[in-house]
Amino acid sequence: MLYSPVPLHIPDGFLSLIVSIICWVLTVLVIGTAISRTNKSLGEKQIPLMGVMAAFIFAAQMINFPVAGGTSGHLLGGALAAIVLGPWAGMLVMTAVIAVQALLFQDGGLLVMGANILNMGLATAAIGYGLYRAVSGQSKTVKLAVTGLAAWLSVMAGALLTSLQLWLSGTSQLELVIPAMMGVHALIGLGEALITVFALGFILQTRPDLVGEGSESAKGSKAWIYIGGAVALIVVLLSPFASADPDGLERVAIDMGFINTGQSAPYNIIPDYTIPFLGETAASTIAAGVVGVIVVGLIIVLVGRGMKAKS
């Protein structure tokens, strides 16, 4: 097998439509910013560079090392990509990697791709770069230590986000999915941390001009320190809280309006026979009617276009 999947890719069908759409919106906002930032700061030369770097992350995920009992550690790459390429370019590279994994290998779904990009591409890059940027003037030892921590936390962030999305979709139970996902990924994250640290150490030693002071990756805004720090802090604080007190998190979700208070459990977020968030009301019936009209209208437009187009 050429390609070994990382167990964070959510397939289609496991997230509800509304959770998928919320994740897509967040992802599109961040990627849109990333594209406009990279367009401003980088020349046409950067596009081939980012493309080959995306292929590099993809290929680097095939490098593994045996751990014990037939299991092996390998790289996810989000933190490494952001550290060596800068945060925005790193995010675009990870987006391309996850998109190709979903399109070509069905590793991760299409509708849930927004969530997968958010979990494995954007959150990982933000933590990886933010923490690394915080120690930019420090010694190599400090840099590498922080890189290891950042890489580990980035995997934990991905696992936490995945768990929360599965829970909000009513696919998994919070008090089971968080400890299970976080427990497994605490170990997977160690492999990620080790490979990232040694890879970065190797690059710092052989080509310090690429990642050292004055390079593209060192130019990232200081705001990343706060963004990455904040995401890391959420992971550190939220995961123990969520595993120890899942009811507390449900309480928060209810207060934030995610969960209809009249229902006893979170898996009812998506009521079965109505449009999400609207409930079994007249509004829902109207919305369903509107969707029907849009679909029929679309079909008419397509047939009309078909008649006009040359065969």
Binding site: I47, P48, V52, A60, M62, A96, V100, Q106, Y267, K310
Partner: protein, 263 residues
């Protein structure tokens, strides 16, 4: 390694192969959205959706069971949904003891679990069929036509173009590690886990440098051949009337199937 080592495209002369890639992407996405919105236990709609997949398999001339054979890929992830078996209130079906916890499978839980698996299984089959009847470069162009930003589609195009080159590079690195990992029978070669991780990390760093330097050469070569920031294609990708009719028909079928699941 051959340049299309990763492509899942299967060359055939069929209606689906000739269809405009945009149409195929759009119909696949609509099908998956419709699946995601189907309520739990909409067996009739699930059945018709599968029929839709089977008919498409036939239309592609890849054989009726083509996607079925490849669709187990999403199964490992099913483990994560297993908790719904016990967590949704409903009529108890069976109780068993697992790690000192009494777990009761309810009928509603079973219904939801099976529905999640079916939705996922149907969606993954359409995605498999999409890449089996569409060349990957055509797929990228379809995405560009569907307003995915050019920066992203170009990165994806490069990723696809150089993935096999870098995979060859990875195989060389792996072979080199293998060749240096000889051991006397009965004793282990090399150090502990951290040492092995260091070797893997150095390999990743090495791969990074080789990729970085290669991207420089690639860019220079492209500029030498007139690259000015945009990739061109000789394939016109024009929508013909058959493409429009096929889209309309497919969306109508998916819509009716969806309605069957709601009433």
């Amino acid at each position: 390694m051959h340049f299309d080592a990763f492509d899942r495209y299967h060359e055939k002369e069929s209606f689906l192969h000739r269809l405009d890639p945009r149409v195929k992407v759009l119909v696949t996405v609509v099908f998956i959205i419709s699946n995601a919105l189907l309520p739990d236990g909409a067996w009739l709609a699930f059945g018709f959706a599968w029929l839709f997949v089977l008919v498409n398999n036939l239309l592609s001339k890849l054989g009726i069971g083509y996607t079925l054979k490849r669709s187990i890929i999403a199964l490992p992830f099913a483990l994560i949904a297993i908790t719904v078996l016990f967590s949704i209130p409903g009529k108890p079906l069976t109780t068993f003891n697992f790690m000192m916890m009494d777990l009761t499978i309810t009928d509603m839980g079973l219904l939801r679990f099976v529905s999640i698996l079916i939705r996922s299984w149907l969606s993954v089959q359409m995605a498999i069929l999409l890449v089996a009847v569409t060349r990957f470069p055509d797929l990228i162009h379809a995405l560009e036509h569907l307003r995915i930003p050019a920066v992203l589609t170009t990165i994806i195009a490069f990723l696809y173009r150089y993935l096999f080159v870098l995979t060859d590079e990875v195989f060389r690195l792996l072979r080199a590690r293998e060749a240096r990992s000889a051991a006397v029978p009965g004793s282990r070669s090399g150090g502990g886990v951290v040492w092995r991780a260091k070797v893997a990390g150095n390999m990743a760093g090495q791969l990074f440098l080789r990729s970085y330097e290669r991207s420089d050469r690639i860019y220079n070569a492209m500029v030498a051949r007139g690259y000015a920031g945009h990739l061109y294609t000789l394939n016109p990708h024009e929508m013909r009337s058959a493409d429009y009719y096929a889209t309309a028909l497919a969306i109508a079928i998916i819509f009716v199937t969806h309605l069957l699941g709601r009433f």
